[in-house]
């Protein structure tokens, strides 16, 4: 993400995103009033539901884990100048990989199951992103369109497999059998209970830590490795990349595969850490939210973590809100999400000119380097 030089870093990374967020909330508030609800009461319920009790916080962080993975996925490709809209499909296919390990390899020792599942999640996700990446690299096919198409192809593929091949015989449900207890990621409340403190139950599981580790690895890769330098160069100036002896096709494929791999890890959190089986449409839009998270977080891991927690809070708080108010459905939160995506992405420059003007007024003109 390019930072404009005229603004101090905190204006660019904190102030403007917060303004965008506030605008989205204001618009949602207007709609709430229009349907006869009290926006402030709604806001209170959302915040309490998300952070108020340990259980809520657990759910919030659980959702945030998903968004960290999909956010990192979009951000990585974004640094290389690519728009990977296919996180939904990549995560979906990764779920297949995880399910296969958990269903058929659950006789292995537990640590081995975890490692193999993680590898499977990453590999399947990377594989699903590989084809659009390859087509962009070698054939110039626009990765936005191909990844959208691959989302739908993934959907068709998984539905077929779940209905016809992976569901237990005699079952009418398009889902796999439940994984054996060995093939499940431990819940955080269980882990903590074993160590001492007890917290309320929630689907928050150990993959949360893996998400945080991925953030650290992401940071090191992008800004402290030569590969990361090459990816950023490609994203900033493809011609300079060629001049600088880098290979854009190779970098495009690597970026897409890493991106798909990160999106795939989401399957660990959902399939192996919460659902304990593979179900239809488990990604339920998390891939698209990842786009908003990456944009709000300016493609930086710290920003992504914050934005992921924010969206997690919206999800959890929104569920509480829908529970408490008969008039408000989960879709209200979907709407709010859409507005945030619009403000953070489509209209991200809405406030910028005015903010820049504010700062220009306060500061004397910089004697240019020219």
């Amino acid at each position: 993400m390019n930072r404009r030089a005229d603004l101090p870093w905190w204006a660019d990374y904190l102030l403007i995103p917060l303004l965008n967020l506030a605008a989205a909330f204001v618009l949602s508030a207007i709609l709430l009033i229009a349907i006869g609800e009290d926006p402030l009461a709604a806001a209170r319920i959302i915040v309490e539901g998300a952070f108020g009790q340990a259980e809520g916080l657990g759910y919030t962080l659980f959702y945030a884990t998903n968004f960290i993975f999909t956010g990192l996925a979009f951000a990585l490709a974004f640094h290389a100048g690519l728009f990977n809209i296919g996180a939904e499909g990549q995560a979906y296919v990764a779920g297949l990989g995880v399910a296969l390990v958990c269903l058929y390899l659950d006789f292995l020792p537990r640590p081995l199951i975890f490692i193999l599942a993680a590898i499977a999640a990453g590999a399947f996700g990377a594989a699903w992103a590989f084809v659009p990446g390859y087509l962009q690299a070698k054939r110039g096919s626009h990765v936005v369109i191909t990844t959208i198409m691959f989302n739908f192809i993934a959907s068709a593929l998984i539905v077929y497999l779940l209905v016809n091949r992976l569901s237990p015989p005699g079952s009418m449900q398009p889902e796999t059998r439940t994984f054996s207890p060995r093939a499940r990621l431990p819940f955080l409340h269980d882990v903590l209970a074993a160590l001492g403190p007890s917290i309320s139950q929630s689907p928050l599981n150990v993959s949360f830590f893996w998400a945080l580790i991925c953030c650290v690895l992401f940071y090191i890769l992008i800004w402290h490795t030569k590969l990361g330098y090459e990816l950023r160069t490609l994203g900033a100036n493809p011609m300079a990349a060629v001049y600088g002896a880098m290979s854009p096709p190779r970098l495009v494929m690597i970026a897409m595969m890493l991106s798909g791999c990160l999106a795939g890890f989401m399957a660990l959190n959902e399939i192996m850490g919460s659902q304990h089986r593979m179900i239809l449409d488990y990604t339920s839009g998390y891939g698209f939210v990842g786009i908003a998270v990456a944009l709000m977080g300016r493609a930086h891991p710290i920003g992504i973590i914050l934005a992921a927690v924010l969206f997690g809070a919206l999800y959890q708080g929104g569920a509480e809100l829908a529970f408490e108010s008969p008039n408000i459905t989960r879709d209200m939160i979907v709407l709010l999400q859409g507005l945030v995506i619009m403000m953070a992405g489509g209209l991200e420059h809405l406030f910028r000119p005015n903010i820049e003007r504010l700062f220009a007024m306060r500061r004397p003109s910089i004697a240019g380097a020219r």
């Binding site: 349907i35 691959f150 739908f152 192809i153 016809n164 879709d331 992405g345």
Partner: protein
């Protein structure tokens, strides 16, 4: 003769299934030819379908429903334009946002206004666009081949269907034979050239996006008040993306767009017809396989296996004056 009789309903079905795709595809054509990527076709169709269903239920008039749909879709289109043209926002993200906003808004308002789990009330026949029998359809029915085509496939559709197919040559004429179309293509290929020639790039793009909005309004109306008798949650079910695939497949040209939409409509119709029926020599084809075909075909086209698809040169790039 029997095969022909079996074929006619499938082709008839193909036409019906192609219509929403065709409207949406043409909508995308106007926007993308002017340099504004529009992946929000799905969202616009959805909000239009909801608006049509809601208005028709409340007012009893299908025409008011159509009007409401066009207005709703056009306002979303203007939102997309506002974000991407005036504020130079990212066109992809804006499109994704519109899809999500539409999904949330239609479901929430559906529940709030009609309390049926998101549906609009069932519409009586007079509030919908009903099938029209073209003159002479009954008479010609028994004429071999042509009569069957005329009465079985061409006649018997709602007004919106005929409008959809008329839009194809109309769009062709607009894009290639009018000043509006020349300028539209110019801002999509080289906006700086248009700007220095005294044309307002922003105005031209807004107009293009608005045309797209109007057409998506027709697409959505067709779904809820012509093809069905009311709006149902998530009614569009990905049709907006298939329309996008068709647009790319047609290389952004009107007549190939019609062919692509008919092709995808045909695939859908065959899929429905064949469900569960074994094909001699192959067995039962999975439903999902056929569903995936339009997407696979588009990817194959983009990969250059079926010719090359070159999008408008300035597509996806916000226009910023610079010398």
């Amino acid at each position: 003769m029997e095969m022909f009789d079996a074929l006619v309903p499938v082709l008839d079905s193909a036409v019906r299934l192609a219509v929403p795709l065709l409207f949406a595809c043409l909508a995308g054509l106007y926007a993308e030819r002017a340099g504004v990527f529009d992946i929000g076709l799905e969202g616009k169709m959805l909000i239009a379908a909801f608006a049509a269903g809601a208005m028709a239920a409340v007012s009893g008039s299908s025409w008011l429903g159509l009007l409401a749909a066009v207005l709703a879709s056009a306002s979303f289109a203007l939102l997309h334009g506002f974000a991407t043209i005036t504020h130079r926002g990212n066109q992809i993200v804006s499109g994704v946002a519109i899809n999500i906003i539409a999904a949330g808004l239609t479901a929430q308002l559906g529940v709030t206004w009609f309390q049926r789990g998101g549906q609009t009330p069932q519409l009586p026949p007079q509030s919908r666009f009903l099938e029209i029998d073209l003159p002479g359809a009954a008479l010609l029915r028994d004429v071999p081949v042509l009569g069957g085509i005329y009465s079985g496939i061409v006649s018997g559709h709602s007004l919106l269907v005929y409008i959809a197919f008329l839009m194809v040559p109309f769009t062709w004429w607009i894009i290639y034979r009018t000043r509006f179309g020349l300028r539209l293509r110019a801002v999509g290929e080289n906006p700086a050239a248009a700007d220095t020639a005294g044309i307002s790039v922003a105005y031209q793009r807004y107009m293009a996006v608005l045309c797209g909005g109007v057409l998506c309004g027709f697409a959505g109306s067709y779904l809820s008040i012509a093809q069905s008798s009311g709006f149902v949650r998530d009614m569009t079910a990905g049709k907006g993306f298939i329309a996008l695939a068709a647009l790319v497949f047609a290389k952004w040209r009107p007549f190939p767009a019609m062919a692509a939409c008919l092709l995808f409509g045909l695939l859908d119709a065959i899929n429905i017809r064949l469900q569960g029926t074994p094909i001699p020599g192959i067995g039962i084809l999975p439903v999902q396989l056929m569903q995936a075909v339009p997407y696979v075909l588009t990817v194959a086209l983009l990969a250059g296996f079926i010719g090359r698809a070159v999008p408008p040169k300035a597509g996806g790039i916000p226009y910023v004056k610079e010398l």
